[in-house]
Symmetry: C2
Amino acid sequence: MTETTKTTTTKKDLIDRIAEETNQKRTVVKMTVQSFLDNVIKELGDGRRLEFRDFGVFEIRERAARVAQNPRTLERVPVPAKKTVKFKIGRLMREALDTVELES
Amino acid sequence: MTETTKTTTTKKDLIDRIAEETNQKRTVVKMTVQSFLDNVIKELGDGRRLEFRDFGVFEIRERAARVAQNPRTLERVPVPAKKTVKFKIGRLMREALDTVELES
């Protein structure tokens, strides 16, 4: 899998768009979006998964601790357990991706 | 990597929480959050990546089309290109994960 997308949209870009679309003040939208993002982090930090219907699912994945070997020195190296977040795309995002044309 | 999280938080749960934290009506928060999620999908569907500082990055990954072989019948099978969304966790989410204790 190679990364293929180029242009970046930021939080500020989205806040401007949402403020326009929903006819709210930027400051209010900013507060709501920030609370949303902070609460997603909080839920994951509390060990819960998040499911947003049609959008996708955030869930923690964990790789167990293991012992690796340095192929050059043959030294055995302990690798600690590692947690990360897996995002599984939902139905609407799947449909949007199926139609996107990417620059190559 | 194995999935380890159990309890699920939904969009409704988060909307209730945000409404309380930001002292807004649920209907307004719901409109803002839905606009946020819809616009994330739209940006990805338009081939852009999204970067939310400290939270993480959404970007499209693409696996090229290839020819696979059925190991039993040795039949050669075309596998079309496939797009998906990769979520890379940001700094605050990393910090939250590093402290989470998961049920086993």
